[in-house]
Symmetry: C2
């Protein structure tokens, strides 16, 4: 087989070998059945489930922009590149089914770095029951990653951004700002960090809120939802704009990082403007609010404000008049 000697094929084979074992877990059988033809052909074939809509999302994960080669271990890059794309599936109330990996690598990343990257990526693929279906590889001076995730949701049950109504309560899952705090810690460290450090977990190994979002969708509890990727001050106005509404947030209610690790103003700034949390932001009609538990599978659920008719997005504090919440989250073009 003469083509075996070609370098691109060698990389494809390494990826293929790494993902040969199908993922295990809750949705593993569904994933296998829905993917009759994976890697190796011009394209992959996916068998959609009856009664479901397909969810499509893609995400950049670029060296220098989204991760630093000297700070983020290849294992963490593998995990996070898939986790953040899967988070968009969660944000729709869906279940991931498979993903495509586009990878551009410098020559010096084609052996040890690639091996460790594939370990982290494969662990994430198993966790999310989301097998690799195909992709594209090429050579590049820097590591470029693009991941497309294909998911499914029962028809008509997707959690959209554009359906929040005035009077709905606004909730978030988890604690806001923990990922950004992890990044700040990482920047002060020497060398790369991997799985060992629990204070960096939220930044390096985010967990998309699949179970929570699936429950909200199935029980028809949420009117609108999105994942928090760029920070509450940037993401909440997006949800409001899509729904043609406004919001008022109670600053004192925000689930911030522990006061033992940050000053009150640092904690507030992280909660409002820190990116990469991949927590769920969702709205619930007032008459369904009592069905939202204080925590869901160990994740705190916090009511942080409500949707308003006025299109302004406001932040009210312990004293004084509410102020406009200005987007100060992550924007690659700033």
């Amino acid at each position: 087989m003469p083509f075996r000697s070609q370098p691109e094929n060698a990389i494809l084979e390494k990826i293929h070998r790494s993902f040969r074992v199908a993922p295990r877990g809750r949705n593993a059988r569904a994933s296998r059945n829905s993917l009759p033809l994976g890697m190796g052909d011009d394209a992959a074939l996916f068998s959609p489930s009856p009664g479901c809509q397909t969810i499509l999302t893609c995400d950049w994960f670029l060296q220098g922009t989204h991760f630093l080669r000297d700070k983020h271990s290849a294992d963490a890059v593998g995990w996070k590149s898939l986790a953040r794309a899967v988070s968009d599936i969660a944000a729709m109330g869906g279940t991931p089914r498979c993903f495509l990996l586009s990878l551009a690598l410098p020559q010096d990343a084609t052996s040890a770095w690639l091996d460790a990257f594939l370990v982290g990526l494969r662990r994430a693929a198993k966790r999310f029951a989301c097998p690799l279906a195909g992709g594209d590889t090429t050579k590049r001076r820097e590591i470029l990653i693009n991941i497309t995730v294909i998911g499914e949701v029962a028809s008509g049950r997707a959690l959209r951004r554009d359906a929040a109504n005035p009077g709905d309560f606004i909730y978030v899952s988890g604690r806001l700002g923990a990922a950004q705090q992890g990044l700040q810690r990482l920047r002060k460290r020497r060398g790369a960090a991997g799985r060992a450090n629990p204070r960096l977990q939220k930044h390096l190994y985010p967990e998309p809120r699949l179970a929570l979002a699936g429950w909200l969708s199935t029980k028809r509890l949420a009117t609108a939802a999105m994942d928090l990727s760029d920070g509450l001050s940037t993401d909440l106005p997006r949800l409001c704009s899509a729904s043609g509404v406004g919001a008022i947030i109670d600053a004192t209610s925000l689930p911030t990082v522990s006061r033992a690790t940050a000053s009150p103003s640092q904690a507030m700034n992280l909660a409002l403007n820190g990116g990469d949390d991949y927590e769920l932001l969702f709205t619930v009609p007032r008459n369904k609010a009592k069905k939202i538990p204080a925590n869901f599978a160990g994740i705190p659920m916090t009511k942080i404000g409500k949707i308003t008719k006025s299109r302004k997005v406001l932040l009210s504090g312990p004293s004084g008049l509410p102020k406009i919440l200005r987007p100060q989250g992550w924007d690659p073009f700033l």
Copy 2:
């Protein structure tokens, strides 16, 4: 709406505006119906057609690797980035339904370059009845493009690479090497080239063989198929390896570029090793060969050899013994 002032949102709105009008054409209504939620949410929703499998493919298109900013017009980059990904859908015998665009841009490409890019991309999206469903944008020193195309094919009718049988005849569509010849011409020119030059069309504005591949799939004429993206000498061994077979190609039968524009050895080299043709390579059982016309909708169909039991991929010439066909097509890692 405070978020409007943010630069990333400005770029997203430009893309959104450019694709607001749904594409027209044969499959336009199917495309609209199958895309109930496009851009603007966390992810897109796609309604799969009953009785169909979904086809998934993604492709890099990177400045410096796949195009040169000073040689390829932004319009051509827009067209080709989608056309080459759609070609993978054609290679499966399918119909494109929608695509995702991941775009990373330097600041100096966010106005005139982006506008022209979107014109070419939108024209391709209309031609292929393949609307934009979503994507991701970020900032980068160089222009990075990744395109995911979602297509469909009747269940069980996909044209795979792994189903060629010994004795099958091997066909190609079109003339091989014309795209590479166009690239050679482009490299000798000054400045960027766009739509005006017909001698560069095949390189700048490739046409995926959707109608031909759909016909082969519907009529069950082809056993295996793939598109020629990296050159016959690289791609044919891939098809053979996937099918566990070999092939013998008759060099004298290859549909090369016109002898008026290249010496016989140049023409042969272009036909064997030139990439980017996006013609269809397919195999047909001997008893169905008479159903393959000499041309299909104006595109020549040429029988170039046959599949063998031996796993070797051989090239026979006008004289002497057949030689091993060595992969000398495009490989980004060489």
